[in-house]
Amino acid sequence: MTRGVRRLLALGAAATVALALGACGSSDDGGSGGDGGGTLRVAAPVLGPKGPDNPLNVLARRFESANPGTKVRVTMTSYEQYDPTLRVQISGGQPPDVIQNAIGYGSSTSTLPLARANALADLSDSPWARTLPESLRETLGFDGRVFTLPGVYTIIGAVYNRTAMEADGVRLPTSYDELLTLCRDVRASGKTLIALGGLVDYNIQNLIFTQVAATMSDEPDFAQRRLDGEVTFSESPGWLQALEQLKEMDETGCFGDDPAAVSVDAADQRLATGKSYMGIGLIDRVPAMEALNPRARFGLAPMPGGSADQTRVPGGAVLGFSVPARAKQVELAKRFVDFAAEPENAGPLPAVTGDGGPPQLPPYASQVQPLLEEERVVPFPDSLWPSPEVSAAMRTGMQGMLSGQGDPRAILKSMDSAWSSD
């Protein structure tokens, strides 16, 4: 019995005990291991519009045109399903040829955990690897080696229903105090300012990151110091303030009565129909909302800090293209990644530039663009967290707080515990 077969068998056991996992759904390319020749399998989470206009599908068609005889099969899965599915495929020795994964640490399929376990092919010899921004290198590999092409730059902010706000005379808040006042006013009018689909705890992560971006201005190097073991979450005034503000926002009614019971679909409907004015999300949520309600216009704005000067947005390269070391078509996959790195092949979402300049955001995010110019963009905190359990502790703790359990200090303590659980 080969090692690969043994691993597959063991995975089968771990994953199927309790006879439950078969029902939890999986990517639809699970049985595609037999492809060979000129077929390249690319796996990615759903980002941006679905269908042929999706940037990844556009890129796949261009690659096929540039490489006659090559077929690119793209499989997109919802983000919640994507990570577990990909992890099983990689652990089982049957990965896709190209994967889109998070850079840094943060999740079990992020670049650094996979690269350190020799599960990713070394892409250091690629031409684009020499022009990468220095600030990103630490999240793309180690020992001077590069394993991921940063391919998607994103921003988290307040996705707002411009049409509904204009109709009701509601203006975007520019400070935290204004935000609380607006929450009360909107509540009094029978609506909710922020539609939060808190039933899915992944959705809560974006909310926390936006708040942390605004409260950590006095601790700019906290993430690196936490990684070096010099500080803890429990000791961070910025983290505590962020969670206390979120608690205050919840108690003020910013998220409605029962945010922990609201599904993402229900929250999207509220925002699309104007029952709520804002939601928290990635930049690609704006076109998704416009698709949901084509009669309304939407925009992306920063969540306000204590004052306009303190306002920051979390942003940066979040996903990139990697090639699993055990992919069937490693060389073809590397060619695809090199192709994706060429500037003319960048999709509609802003790509990371190698010249150090800020990316140009789409017009609907024009209110965020100045923050990029002024370098008031903070990296996603979890890119330097060594284990996905830290973000899981943060999300479940926050979800618990939204349902009346726990408090900010308990959440920070659980994040520190999760950090040291290895």
Binding site: A23, S91, G198
Partner: protein, 286 residues
């Protein structure tokens, strides 16, 4: 070829498949429970560390506690409802065949699909709350999936709603095997409805009860689909169960060794509790 070997030849292909695709993975999985395997690198033996973490940390203990609470409530509820339905539909009711089919229908639907329908129903702005408001009971409207107590109840109701028909069918089979003459004789002797139930129905229904309790016990301990679809283990960790932790730890956190330990713990719990319960009830059956 000796005749005694012939049956084994027929059984061999199925046995081989069973060994290759069930026994071998199960045994290997059990072995990984004693390692720190992350699914990517070679595992190292860690002894009982994974098990001490399950029983020593709030996360594992919480999942264990939620599983046991949900299991006990489910076993009681699904059997009470199932028995009630069976007794009600065992009589001379004209519509009994249609009603039996209706109550059994949810059993054949995917638990995941059923849970998603209930998730829609239980949304704060969903049909249940809207219905309560429409009939003047708006004060009873709840964020059903957003509070720990009501979220657990929601998972329980979803499970009971779907599987009480299954329980009903088993009880019905038991009821139909009881000879009508026994009831007639008891009636002549002056036994009332309750006395007939206690002295005839209950003892003769014990085999059906044994089967039902065993099946519901196993289903209750292994609850996964309904939790994942309805609450994802939340709010917070209020509805996390051992089975959802097996999934989370392996496929989200990449801790395959720890996940295998949880799976092994679950398997041992299911086996032990089922065995004890079967022994106790068989003894009662006499």
């Amino acid at each position: 070829m000796r005749r005694a070997r012939v049956p084994w030849l027929f059984v061999a292909p199925a046995l081989l498949l069973y060994a290759a695709f069930y026994l071998a993975p199960t045994l290997l999985g059990a072995g990984y429970a004693f390692t720190d395997w992350n699914g990517l690198e070679s595992p190292s033996f860690v002894g009982l560390d994974n098990f001490s973490r399950i029983f020593g940390e709030a996360e594992g203990l919480g999942a264990l506690r939620h599983t046991l609470v949900l299991c006990v409530l489910y076993v009681v509820a699904v059997n009470v409802v199932g028995l009630g339905l069976a007794v009600g539909l065992h009589g001379a009711l004209k519509t009994r065949h249609v009603l039996r089919a209706l109550f059994f229908a949810p059993v054949v639907v995917s638990p995941l699909a059923v849970a998603y329908v209930w998730k829609f129903i239980l949304d704060p702005e969903g049909p249940l709350n809207r219905g309560l408001e429409a009939i003047g009971l708006g004060t009873l409207a709840q964020p059903w999936l957003g509070k720990p107590a009501t979220a657990t109840a929601a998972v329980l109701v979803t499970m009971v709603w779907q599987f009480s028909g299954w329980s009903m069918v088993i009880y019905l089979a038991g009821l139909q095997s009881i000879q009508a003459e026994l009831y007639e004789a008891a009636e002549i002797d002056g036994a009332g409805t309750w006395r007939r139930f206690v002295d005839i129905t209950r003892p003769l229904l014990l085999p059906a009860l044994t089967i039902n309790v065993s099946l519901s016990l196993i289903a209750g301990l292994m609850v996964f689909d309904q939790v994942i679809a309805l609450t994802g283990g939340g709010p917070g960790t209020a509805t996390e169960t051992i089975a959802t932790q097996v999934y989370e730890q392996a496929l989200v956190n990449g801790r395959f060794g720890y996940s295998a330990a949880m799976a092994l713990t679950l398997a041992v719990a299911v086996g032990t509790l089922s065995f004890v319960q079967m022994r106790a009830m068989r003894r009662q059956e006499g």
